[in-house]
Symmetry: C2
């Protein structure tokens, strides 16, 4: 069983209202000088061997289902134990 | 300017309905043998030096605001360029 992590973040040029709200809340709580952007993290358990073909499949799935590539960028990486 | 990443995931013993839905959708799209859990990723830009005190502050913020520690676990790490 291997684990692959897909991180999905709003593209830099895209406004991030959730991140803005969190940045504001942190300031009100007294945490100064922090600017937050919020994205998503997917942990994928892969049955069987993690071949290069399998990784390509996961990149394909990330593009089709996990990220909205109009407004989001994603990275796929294998997590070592 | 330093960047700190906070990853927030549902605890292993907690059901993850979003992840279950994605796992189901992937199967219907023909991606077999993948099991997904969904969490959140926060990228935090820190103004000034990233001291150990500043990191403690961010761990505090993660616990208070970014994660619901009843059902979620979080990790804080410094992202190198």
């Amino acid at each position: 069983m291997s684990r692959v992590v897909v991180d999905v973040m709003p593209k830099p040029e895209i406004l991030d209202p959730q991140g803005k709200a969190i940045t504001g809340s942190l300031q009100r709580l007294g945490f100064e000088g922090l600017s937050v952007r919020q994205g998503k993290r997917f942990e994928i358990e892969v049955a069987g061997d993690l071949t290069e073909e399998r990784l390509d499949q996961i990149r394909d799935a990330a593009e089709k289902l996990l990220a909205n590539t109009v407004i989001e960028a994603f990275t796929v990486r294998v997590e070592e134990d």
